[in-house]
Structures are given as C-alpha cells and as structure tokens.
C-alpha cells in the first residue's frame, strides 16, 4: 500500500467518525474489534527499566511498576519483555471536527474548528466519566482506525481546521502519539490544544508545553476525599500541574464539572477560588459545567442551573475575572464580560459565537486587555 492508498483508507475510516459536528458515538465495546496484535508497539517515553524485566512508568503520578506483560492503570501501555510500549500510537478511537468552544476553550481562537481526536484509555477512573466508552476501555475493546501523526495533520488540513485538539479520553496516556503529532502540526502552522485532567508528572508536562498552545484542565474537585472516592487519584499533582502551566507561555483554562451533592459545596468553591487567585491570578477562565448522569453515577440528577449560578457568583466574589457556566446553552454565564467596564465582549449561544467586541486583545469599549489567544 503506498501513501496515497493509505490515506484513502484512513480517510474512508474517518468518514465513519466525522459525523456532523457533535461527538460521534463512541464505538461499542460489545464486540471487540482490535486484536492485541493489531495495536501499536512504539516504545514509550518516561519510564525506567528495572531488574528482572520490570519497568517503572514515570509519565504520571501513579508511577506504575510492572512486570513482563503487565499494563499500567491506563490500560494502554504495556511491559513487553522489559521494554515499555504504547499500544495506541496512531490508534484513534474517536475523531471529529468540533467547535473549540466545546472543549471548552473560550479565550482561545473563538469560533475556530478543532480537529479532535482520542485513543482509548485513561489514567484516572472517574465514576462520572462522560466519555467512559472510550476512556475506560482498553484499546482492543474499541474500534480503532490507524491514523499516524502525518495522516492526522493532513486530515486536519483537509478539513481546514486551524487547531488539533487532543481530547475526549485522556491525552496524557497517548503522550507519544500526541507529542509527535503536535510537532508535525506546528511545522504546518496548525495549533495544538490539550484537554486533560492534569494527572501528569512535571517533566513530561514541561516537554509537552513546548509543542502545545493551550491546555484545559479538568479540576474534578477541591478535596482529596472526592479524588479518592470518585476519581481514584490525588488532588495535589493536579494543582501542581495548574501552577506549572500558569507559569509557562501555554494558555490555560479550567473546567469544574459540578456534581450535585458530591463536589458542589460552596465553601470548597470559595477555597478553590481563593487558591486560584493566589496561585495563578484572576485571569485564567474557569468553567462551572453542568453534570449529566453517566457511567457509574446515574442516581443523581443533572446539576440545577441555580447551583451553577451560585458557584459562579462565589468565584466572581473572590475576584476571578472570567467565570463561565457550561453545558447550559443560552445562559448569560456563557458570555465573556469585560472585567473593567462590565460589557459583554463575546456573546455566545452554546458553541456559537454571536458577537465579538474585541479589538485585537482589548475590549472594544474600554480598551481593557483581555487575556487569551485571539489570533
């Protein structure tokens, strides 16, 4: 198969996924579509070889120590005879063209389209995961298409996408594939954004930030209890990630999925807002998103809009400048307000930009600089 045939094949595969503008249905797990032998076998980065063919993964704070033929918590990295491999290099399980607002990024090229992709796997285990049908799966349990970095970039170009988004599951676990794609995309003038839970070690994060323009962090809660009971991870490394990104040139936005009774305590939100203001300043956007019952948490209702409004109010009271309400189309909390003059400078309806009153990076009304990546 030559390159042209290969791309033709890949794109034919893409057509299965590129359905409309919404996230295409993740592929069913009921019948397995990728025998383990069809997964990738590309050596992983950030690991240490240990005696007796064991390895220690150093990509994320779990530091999985694995014997031969064992996989990490993420389910997509495997020790094979003392060498650690990523099984999902170029193995795309979900692919779509999304508005950048869907990620959500509100201060990063508003109105642009992001060529969005994911592989199977995640290094967390959130009981409320909204994309569990790919994130909580092993790669052999979902249908994959083979789309190596060059094909990703070429396909993004074909769809005129100025941005590639690594999203849906957890891009940290397909680090090598993401990194190589970012490099190629950059050379071709395409920007890279990452949607992550921020469960990554400082060194790989620092390297990643050399090739991406923006990172959105899902901060799941502001208590370790929640991280222990509903996420199966630690809060502190995520906070460390947020600080590290804020200190860099990479743009940062934060999403907080508000789950009724579990992480919607106003006092916790107040503490979090104070922490954010003190540690990274008031200018990074935070989105309070509405939860919908999913995966292992189906016994709770969707977040009341009034809760989102209340939490937004607290964050504003604490001095954060850009506080949004997410997953509630038409809500005034979707708009960007100038923190100086209070006027609406970007008006949104869902993922659509209705009005943009920016002059460069400044409020058209009062000249206030609005932080973000606008062009």
């Amino acid at each position: 198969m030559d390159r042209r045939d290969f791309l033709k094949c890949s794109l034919a595969g893409c057509s299965l996924f590129l359905v409309g503008k919404g996230l295409s249905t993740p592929l069913s797990s009921s019948a397995l579509a990728a025998p383990p032998s069809q997964l990738s076998r590309v050596e992983a980065r950030y690991y240490q070889k240990l005696p007796d063919r064991e390895i220690k993964c150093e990509l994320c704070p779990r530091f999985c120590q694995l014997g031969d033929k064992e996989r990490g918590f993420c389910g997509v990295r495997e020790n094979q005879d003392g060498k650690y491999y990523t099984l999902v290099y170029g193995k795309v399980a979900s692919l779509n063209v999304d508005p950048i607002e869907k990620k959500p990024f509100f201060h990063f090229l508003p109105g642009s389209e992001a060529f969005s992709l994911a592989t199977a796997g995640c290094n967390l285990s959130c009981k409320f995961c909204q994309n569990w049908e790919i994130s909580q799966m092993r790669p052999e349990q979902v249908r994959n298409i083979h789309l190596p970095p060059e094909a990703v970039v070429e396909t993004a170009e074909k769809y005129n996408c100025p941005v590639i988004a690594y999203t849906y599951s957890e891009p940290v676990i397909f680090y090598e594939f993401m990194y190589d794609t970012c490099l190629l995309a950059r050379r071709r003038g395409i920007k890279n954004v990452v949607v992550s839970a921020g469960y990554i070690n400082p060194e790989p994060l620092a390297d990643l930030m050399k090739v991406v323009e923006a990172i959105k962090i899902d901060l799941k809660a502001f208590t370790q209890d929640f991280y222990t009971n509903y996420v199966r991870g630690e809060l502190q490394p995520v906070l460390k990630t947020i600080k590290q990104i804020a200190k860099s040139k990479t743009w940062l936005e934060i999403v907080y999925l508000v789950i009724p009774t579990l992480n919607d305590n106003p006092e916790d939100i107040r503490k979090m807002s104070r922490w954010l203001k003190a540690e990274i300043g008031p200018d990074y956007p935070i989105h309070f998103s509405r939860f919908h019952p999913m995966y292992l948490i189906k016994n709770l209702p969707p977040t009341p809009v009034s809760t989102l409004e209340k939490l937004r109010e607290i964050a504003l009271e604490e001095g954060l400048h850009y506080v949004y309400v997410g997953n509630v189309p038409g809500h005034p909390g979707e708009h960007t307000y100038c923190p100086n003059c209070g006027k609406v400078i970007i008006e949104r309806y869902g993922y659509t930009i209705k009005k943009k009153e920016l002059s460069g990076n400044k409020c058209r009304y009062c000249g206030q600089v609005i932080p973000g990546v606008w062009s």
């Binding site: 009921s30 025998p35 918590f73």
Partner: protein, 298 residues
C-alpha cells in the same frame, strides 16, 4: 473450629518427558481431589453435587503467562472433557479467558463447534462484554458475556503465582479476566477489589469450585515468568471455598519462599490482604486455623 476444607493432591509423575502435564495423571488428580473434598466414593458423584446435566459450565483459566506459565490445555481440556463425559453436555462447557490470542499463544486450539468442547476468548465475535457496567461497591465494570450470559456455573481453574502487587494471584483474582478493566484494580494491593469483584452476583452465584493449578508455581517475582523462581510443585489444590483455596495457595508460596531463603510475603509487605477482606464479606475462610487441609499423593 475448622469450617472449610481444602484438598491438595500431589503427583510426582505428572510431567511427561516433554515437561508437559500428562492428561492421564492430571485426571487421576482431579478424581482424587474431588473424592476427598466431598467424601464421595466416586468423583462423578462429587461433580453431580455442583453441576446439573443441563448446566452450561465455564472453566475460567489464566493464560496471560502464555505457554510458559498458564493453565495449560493438558490440564483444562482434561477437566472439560471429563466433565462433558460424566455430568454435562460437552458442548455446554466453555474453557475461556480474555482473548483468543492469549489462548492460542498458550497452545489452545480455538473451538466453537457444535457437539464439542468450546474454547474461546471474550473477544470472540458474538461474545464481547455487557453493554452497561455492573456495579458492586468499588467495582464498576463491563463483564465478559461468557461469564454474564453464556454459562450457568463456573470453575476457577487458576494458575497459582506470586504477584508483585496482590501478593498472590490464584482463584479469586482469576476473575479479573472476566471484566473489561482489570488495570483499574491493581492499586492498594488489589484490595478490596479482588474480593468485591468476586462478591458480584454474576460471579459469586455461578462459582462452584476452585481448582488451583500448582503444577508449576512462580513463587517470586510474579506474575511474570522467571524460571529461576519457578518450581515444579506437581500439585492441584481443590476447594469449594474460594478464599480458603487461595489461602492455602498463599501458604504454599510462602513455604517455597522460605525453602529458597526468601522473605515471606508479609515480610515483604505484600501479603494478600484481599483474602481477609473476602473473609469479612463472608466469601470464605482466609485463616489457616479455620481451614482443614487434606493432602494426598496419587
């Protein structure tokens, strides 16, 4: 008071000249083990206690170690055929694990032919996993449809190994191969996950018998195969108490370690604490003082 019985059968001649289990000897071990476990004069009577003629029986094996350290066909097929010739219909018996590739790499010839023993993995077309996760305490998983829908009764025919994280992998942990996300349950020494998985209705209700394959035991640096720490123990361990069977497996591993001058699992801070969790959940006996161990050689 001893409340659970575990039978340990040894056969010095179980390995043939090629180093593989001899099915004739293995069958003798199965028969003796079940007779002693139940007190039945014939092993077939013992089988009839647990299995009805119309039952579809799953024999869950462990093939992650491939040919070097797995439940081998010489053992599991012997059990399946015997069961098929005595109590159940042969084509109602499924020898299974996660994937067809692992089964083939271990030396199994896949089979789904009417009239004969079935051998296939969860990734066989038409099998796969349940559509929705099943939740029990900390467990939330899709289950293999083999375990969930294609069988009525189950035997955990597990390889006994040292396990770096769990301490011991044996009959209970074997069911990690019945769910889609075992990688999510290896932290905290796999505790409480192994116990809570077994407690799930789909497993606990169907489980009839644990048989630990201790013919060759990896007693250190498991679950990967390291020949320098693997011993031909030539034993099979039987119990209807899944926790007691594993507790006796743990004892065997610690005895081997002591004999080789290695610290015990407890001394290495990786004793299989999930067994005590399983005991607390009422799944069986984890303490040796509550287990009657019957040993015999064939």
């Amino acid at each position: 008071m001893k409340t659970s019985k575990v039978v340990v059968i040894t056969a010095r001649n179980v390995f043939s000249g090629q180093g593989l289990p001899d099915p004739r000897v293995v069958l003798k071990m199965f028969r003796k083990g079940l007779e002693l476990l139940t007190g039945a004069s014939k092993a077939e009577e013992a089988l009839a206690i647990w299995f009805k003629p119309e039952d579809r029986v799953g024999i869950k094996i462990n093939t992650i170690g491939r040919r070097l350290l797995s439940t081998l066909p010489e053992t599991s097929i012997t059990l399946g055929l015997w069961l098929g010739q005595t109590i159940c219909r042969e084509d109602n018996i499924i020898i299974w694990d996660r994937s067809n590739e692992e089964l083939k790499d271990t030396g199994y010839k896949l089979s789904n032919t009417p009239g004969s023993l079935k051998i296939f993995g969860t990734d066989t077309r038409g099998a796969g996993y349940t559509e929705e996760p099943i939740v029990n305490r900390n467990i939330g998983s899709l289950f293999s449809r083999i375990q969930a829908e294609l069988i009525d009764a189950s035997i955990s025919l597990a390889i006994l190994k040292d396990h770096g994280l769990a301490g011991v992998t044996a009959g209970l942990k074997n069911y990690f191969g019945a769910i889609h996300n075992p990688n999510k349950y290896h932290d905290s020494h796999c505790n409480p996950y192994i116990a809570e998985l077994f407690e799930t209705d789909l497993i606990r209700r169907k489980h009839r018998l644990t048989i630990l394959d201790a013919l060759k035991v990896q007693y250190h640096r498991g679950p990967s195969y390291h020949p320098q720490w693997a011993e031909n123990c030539k034993k099979l361990i039987f119990s209807t108490d899944p926790v007691a069977a594993d507790a006796v497996g743990w004892k065997l591993i610690d005895e081997l370690r002591a004999r080789k001058g290695l610290p015990s699992l407890k001394e290495e801070n990786r004793e299989p604490v999930y067994l005590f969790t399983a005991e607390k959940l009422g799944l069986g006996q984890a303490r040796l003082e509550n287990i009657e161990i019957v040993e015999e050689e064939v």
